[in-house]
Each structure stands twice: as C-alpha cells, then as structure tokens.
C-alpha cells in the first residue's frame, strides 16, 4: 500500500472500531439523528480543519485560526446588531477581511522568511486583541435571516437533521478534497511540503502558493466564525479559544504528516468525526467529566504520531 495511505487507513479503522464499541454500549448512537448533531456541532471545527490541512500539507502551521473565528464572530455581530447591516453584507466583508489577513500572514512568511509558527502566533494575538477591542462582551445577534439559517435543515432518512451549517461543512470538505487532489494548486501544496527547494527549482510559484495557502486557511477560519455565530446566535471575542489546536489535532489524527507532504482532506474529516465521537460518547456516558475528551484526544494524537513515525521509518529502512 502507498505509505501515505496507511495513516489514513489506520484512522478509518480506529474510527470504525471506536464507533462500533460506542454503539455497542449505547445503541442509540447509531442513528442519523446523532449523525446530524455530529455534523452540526463540529461544523466550525471541520471547516477550520480543512484550511489547516492545506497549511500542514505544505509544511506550515496556522495558530491564528481560533482567534480569527473569534474576531469574525464579533465583527459580524457588531455589523448586524449595532450597524444594522444585512447579514449577507456582513458575511461578505468578514470573509474579505479574514482573506486579507491570511494573505498578509502568507506574504510575511514567504517574503520575510519567518517561520509560519511565529507569524501566525503574532496573527493570533492580533486577531484576538482586535476582537476584544471591538467588544469585550458577548453581542447577541437577532435577525430573521439568522433564525432562518440556524433552523434550516434537510431531513435525512431515519429522522436525522442535516442542518445548513452541517451541510456547509460537508460542502467545504468536498471542495477542499477536489482542490487538494485535483488541481495544480493542490499539487503545488504537496510539492512545497515535500521539498520546498526542489519545488522551486521545478517551477512551483512558491510565493504565490504560500500566500494562497494562508489566505485559504484564514478565509475558512472566517467562514467558520460565521458558522460559529450562527450556531451560538452571538459574537464573543473569547470564543473558540484553542480551536487552532483542536484543528491541528484533527488533521494529525486524520493521517496528515506534521512535517508536510503527506495526507488527505478526507482523513481530516475522519479526524474531526473521531474527535466528535469521543465528545458524544462522554456526553452519553454522563458520569465522565467532559475533560476526559481532552485526555482521550491526547492519547489518540500521541498514538498517531507514533504510528506515522513507525510507518515512515519502516519505509526508510526498506528504501
């Protein structure tokens, strides 16, 4: 088997086993109702994780996404609740702002030759700070469009509800997968993560690709912020703290190599679902503290990093 497929296969197998075990204990877990909630509850994380997948595939990291989610939520809430703008206008401007923010970070990473870790760390403080300056308090959003969108759903067979925001996440994953595996941009991202120097010699436009990668990641974080504001019906500057780490976790559990070059968008989907499953299980159990989620995810992450090491070392030894 192609070695980059192995971590993906491992994730899939673990997900199926975990789901089967959980379903054995709580048979009600096997229903489109739970699946629908899964997708809705994890929509903002999933959308962010798609952008993070591109960043990590290229060998970088984006720590600013959680703060961008928080900023976008506040920005949208202020525009709608205080400014009286139509949500569509607010969404468009919010997405444009987050895209520009990402492009600026990508440009700094490429032109200043600063590690993405540092640049996006600065971006994280900037975005979070800006959100708090706009408003430190939670701003509720009351708009008929918001009510309509958050209640819109498609009834799945079995009675489950695929909400609009769950659907948006699925759509982002599908488009993300196409972008990664079926376009020149996607091939360039993989090449960058494999060997940036060779990629440059082979004619990959390193600067443009880097800027686009971080633009994509920030734009998706902005979209995720919009989704989060739809989910909570409010904008709060301290929301989504640490989501960047959850997203990185989902990407790595999904089989993408942290050093770049190997991985799949579909893997990230399973990673997000696996994290959601852990959360759901703990809610179903009822006796466990919700912090157990973190512990289980920590263990899973560690397992995957170990697994990737083993897979790639075995390969290196054979070559």
């Amino acid at each position: 088997m192609n070695r980059s497929l192995r971590p993906l296969a491992a994730t899939a197998v673990i997900f199926i086993l975990a789901y089967a075990a959980a379903a054995f204990q709580f048979p009600t877990l096997v229903s489109t109702r739970v699946l629908g909630n899964f997708l809705t509850d994890n929509a903002f994380l999933g959308i962010t994780a798609v952008g993070m997948t591109f960043v990590i595939l290229s060998g970088g990291i984006d720590l600013s996404v959680g703060a961008v989610i928080g900023f976008t939520g506040v920005f949208v809430a202020v525009m709608i609740s205080w400014g009286g703008y139509h949500p569509a206008v607010a969404f468009a401007i919010a997405l444009a702002v987050s895209a520009a923010f990402g492009a600026a970070m990508g440009a700094a990473i490429h032109w200043l030759k600063v590690p993405s870790f540092i640049v996006t760390l600065a971006g994280m403080f900037l975005a979070r700070g800006a959100a708090s300056v706009i408003s430190a308090d939670s701003i509720p959003i009351n708009h008929e469009i918001y009510d309509w969108i958050s209640q819109a759903y498609w009834k799945m067979p079995g009675g489950g509800r695929l909400s609009m925001i769950g659907g948006v996440m699925v759509l982002v994953f599908v488009l993300g997968a196409l972008l990664a595996h079926r376009t020149r941009f996607g091939a360039n991202v993989y090449a960058l993560g494999g060997n940036a120097h060779s990629a440059e010699l082979m004619g990959v436009p390193i600067g443009r690709t880097t800027i686009l990668i971080y633009t994509l990641s920030s734009t998706l974080a902005g979209l995720s912020g919009i989704v989060f504001s739809l989910y909570t019906q409010a904008g709060y500057s301290l929301s989504a703290v640490g989501v960047e780490l959850d997203a990185i976790g989902a990407v790595v559990i999904g089989g993408t190599l942290l050093t770049g070059g190997y991985g799949f968008v579909a893997g990230t989907f399973i990673g997000v679902m696996l994290m959601g499953l852990v959360q759901t299980y703990i809610i179903f159990d009822g006796t466990l503290s919700s912090w157990w989620t973190k512990i289980v995810i920590g263990v899973l992450l560690f397992m995957f990093i170990l697994l990737q090491r083993l897979v790639f070392r075995a390969q290196a030894a054979r070559a």
Partner: protein, 502 residues
C-alpha cells in the same frame, strides 16, 4: 560525432564571474553541439559549477555572453533557461519525493480537463515517456520509493521533456553503482542520438572516456583546453586538470627522508564503500603528501584516520593501540585535522580569532577546566604570532579574515593542543595564490618542529615541495607510494592516470 559540422546549440563566449575579490571564472569559451556528449572536467574550485550555473541561468555572467542557437540570451533564472531549452539534472535529485512519478514529471505542466487535473492522461503520458527510457514502473507510486538511479532517470526525463535542446548532467553518477551507471549511459546515448547537446560533469575519468565525445578542462577559473576525446590519453587529461607540464624542476626536499622514529601506524585501515584497506606509517618530522583526483578516496582516507568515519577493518597505533570511535579520541591521542572545506567544517565564522584558536584546547581540557580570558589571550597571541596570522585584533570575527589567514587560524587551533600528527586536507584551497607559499612555509616549519603531517593536495608542485613521501590514491584505494627521486609531478600524474587494473 555526426553533427560537429553544424552550428553550436549553445555557446559561452568569454564568460567571466567575480565573487567579491575572487575571480571564479575568467574568459571561458565553450561550444556545445547538437548530438554530442561534452565532458566538463576540473578539480574543486576550477569553475565548473560557476560555468554551469551561468549556462543554466542560475548566475548572470559579469562578462561575456551566452548564445543559444545563434542568438544571444540572458536568463533571469533557471526556469527561463529551462523554457528556452536548457535543462539541468543535479547530483542530488531535485524532484519532490512525496509526489508520484507521474506528478513529478508533470508538476506545473499537468494536463487539464474541465479545470481539473486529468490524472489518466498524466499517467498514460508518464508511462509513455518513461518507456522511451526503458523504464517500466508504476508511475502512480511515490517517487521516493524508487532507487536513486530511477529517480535520476525520471529527473532526466522531466528535463528533456521541458527543455529538449541542452541537457546538463551535474555529477549524475556520484551515487550510482556500476550497473546503474551503464543504464544511465544507455539513456545518454539515446538522447545524443536524438540530437541533444549533453554536458556531463564527473570526477571519474573512466566514464569520460566511455561516453564523452569532447572534453573541456577548467583550472582556477580559466579554460585549459577543449579537445576531442579520441586524441587524448588519460595522462593528458590528468595533466590538464592538475596543470602540470612534464618539464618540471625537481625540488630539493627529498633530503629530509624518514628522519624520526615511527610515530603512527595505520594497518589495513578501510571502510566499505569509502576506502579500500591501506597501510601507512608516519614518522616524526616528516610530511607525507597525498595525491589523487577528487573522488579518489583521499578525503575519505583522512576522515577514517581522524575517526570522523568509523573504519570497519584495520588497526591504528599511536603511542599504543588506538581504537577510534570519534574525533574526540583522535584529538586526545594527539591528532589534529584541518578539513577541506573550512567554511563548512572548520571555521566558526561568527566567533573571534581568539575563540577559534582556543576551542580545540578547551574541548580537550573538558568543561570544568575553563581557560581564563588571560590564558586565552596569551595562547591566541602566541600562536597568532608564531603562524603570522594577520588580524587587526584577535577579537574580530574570523569570517572577516582572508582565506589564507583563516587557514592559519585553524592550524593555530590544532597547534594549541600540541599535536603529534596533523592531517591537512587541501590547505591551500581557496586561498590567494600569493598566500600559498606562506602555507607551504608553515607546513615546513611544523615539520621541523618534529610533527608528523599528512597533507592532501591537488597542487602537485606544492606536494612535491614539502613531501618526503607521496601516496597516490585512485578509485578509492592507495595505489602507489613514491619516495626520493620518484617524487616528481610527472611520476605522480602517471600514477594517478594509470589504467585501472582489470
């Protein structure tokens, strides 16, 4: 050589390039004809890579012009040169290992359909292209899962597909085994038949004679000669590379002889794939010169003797039996090593002259016996004076010094630990010609002080000037040990060039 009557495909006319104060290339002319394999030869620092980088657009020449098919061209970068028809394949394969073979062939030029990559067309195309090179592999598999030889052919296929006029192969055979070299040569022969101009850079003379039609030899940034291979012998080529005319006065150093008692004995020392087992005895107060072309195993030999690489056979005795596991043990036993590329392996450019000199002594003393600042100043001052290191101040960063003075700082570093045996790898490389004599004088002075020295050098007249014995390396083995009257450039050249034993 059917096409020699044609117009040259690519020409360099009077190419020159200056880096700082260093003239890396001066007035070099080269013609590449369609359907020829043109070998480019020269020792390190001869200007080969500078010339190649100018022809392939990585550097812009300071003087002269590049002419492609009769029209003068000025490439901004290698991509432009590639688009114009000049492709390059480097020694370390410059492809992306995590992408599939097909993706590597097509990266940036993928066939598209409805705005998406057309993977089927890409795979079919890749299979067809590689079949032309006699390669039938799964083009969807990761490139990194194949051998270097296969990757090299994929890299050539990509370069030819994108360029198709001139193909530059920069030491393509360095990491290939014999069978792989054979199949690479078949590929080159096919490309030659298709009318490409192939530039081939290598250190292996056998390969030059096996594949090349013409050779161009560079030395010290200047063109020595371009000649058809059919009229040349190996000795001619070696002589051109090392710049030796056979008429050469013999120097008077042979008197020294093996004066002192035996100091160090290396018996059957060897390492698989690096150097064949060799015997060497060094005496106090003698200089043993090591001659050989680049890639002959001369540097590898020094690395084994100093414990940088671990030997798998043989024994060392230096004041008692010695098993080397690391250079630290070698230092403890009284050895010092000045490596070939001092910028990479020897000098700490940001540190001061003083710090560079005391660092080996400090390391030998261990961390708990720190040298005081006064002691450091004293040691640095003493050796700087003894070796005539010209620095305005011992606290200035070493990188600001000239090459010759940097080399003397490294020598001083080892002198400070009071070594018995000093190994110098190309001590005069990259140093102004004027400073060569000073380094040679320093070597002689150290010998008079009773040290044993092993000096590796491509400068034959220097080797002859200070050596009481000369060992000759060829094809990763010691092939000759010359003494007395045999220490003469023409004898050394003969020994280096001699045909490989069947």
């Amino acid at each position: 050589m059917g096409g020699i009557s044609m117009e040259p495909m690519l020409q360099g006319r009077g190419l020159g390039k200056v880096f700082g104060a260093h003239q890396a290339l001066a007035g070099v002319d080269i013609d590449l004809f369609p359907g020829e394999v043109h070998a480019l030869l020269g020792e390190n620092g001869a200007g080969k890579s500078t010339l190649i980088k100018i022809l392939t657009g990585a550097y812009q020449p300071d003087s002269g012009a590049v002419v492609l098919e009769g029209a003068e061209v000025a490439f901004r970068d290698p991509l432009q040169a590639q688009a114009a028809g000049i492709g390059t394949v480097y020694q370390e394969v410059n492809l992306v290992p995590n992408l599939s073979v097909a993706e590597n062939l097509y990266l940036g030029h993928q066939p598209m359909r409805w705005g998406m990559l057309n993977k089927r067309a890409m795979h079919d195309g890749a299979r067809e292209i590689l079949a032309g090179y006699g390669l039938e592999i799964d083009v969807r598999a990761e490139l990194g899962s194949f051998s270097v030889a296969v990757q090299q052919i994929v890299a050539i296929a990509r370069a030819v597909k994108l360029s198709g006029k001139v193909l530059v192969l920069d030491e393509p055979t360095a990491s290939l085994d014999r069978a792989e070299v054979e199949s690479l040569f078949e590929v080159i022969a096919k490309l030659k038949a298709r009318g490409l101009a192939v530039v081939f850079i290598t250190h292996f003379l056998d390969q030059v004679f096996a594949i090349a039609d013409r050779v161009t030899v560079l030395r010290n940034g200047k063109l020595v000669s371009t000649q058809a291979i059919s009229g040349l012998s190996r000795t001619d080529v070696v002589r051109m590379m090392l710049g030796k005319d056979v008429v050469f006065a013999h120097s008077p150093v042979t008197e020294i002889g093996a004066s002192g008692p035996a100091l160090a004995e290396f018996k059957g020392l060897g390492r698989k794939g690096s150097v064949a087992p060799f015997d060497l005895t060094l005496h106090q107060g003698e200089v043993v010169g090591v001659a050989g072309l680049l890639g002959s195993g001369r540097t590898e030999m020094a690395r084994l003797m100093f414990g940088v690489d671990l030997a798998d056979t043989g024994s060392i005795s230096l004041g008692g039996p010695l098993t080397l596991r690391s250079p630290r043990q070698a230092v403890a036993a009284g050895m010092g090593f000045c490596p070939e590329d001092r910028k990479v392996d020897g000098i700490f450019g940001e540190l001061s002259v003083r710090e560079n000199i005391v660092i080996a002594l400090q390391a030998k003393l261990g961390w708990f016996k720190a040298l005081s600042r006064d002691e450091q100043d004293d040691i640095a001052g003493r050796f700087a004076e003894a070796l005539d290191i010209r620095a305005a101040d011992h606290n200035m960063p070493v990188k600001l010094l000239s090459g010759g003075n940097q080399q003397k700082v490294i020598l001083a570093r080892w002198m400070a630990i009071d070594p018995k045996l000093l190994i110098l790898d190309e001590p005069t490389r990259g140093i102004d010609v004027g400073a060569h004599a000073e380094i040679v004088r320093t070597i002689n002075r150290l010998r008079e002080d009773g040290l044993a020295l092993l000096v590796i050098s491509s400068e034959l007249d220097e080797v002859v000037a200070y050596s009481s014995r000369v060992v000759v390396m060829r094809d990763r083995a010691m092939v000759a040990e010359l003494k007395g009257a045999d220490i003469a450039p023409q004898v050394i050249v003969q020994a280096i060039a001699a045909q490989e034993a069947p």
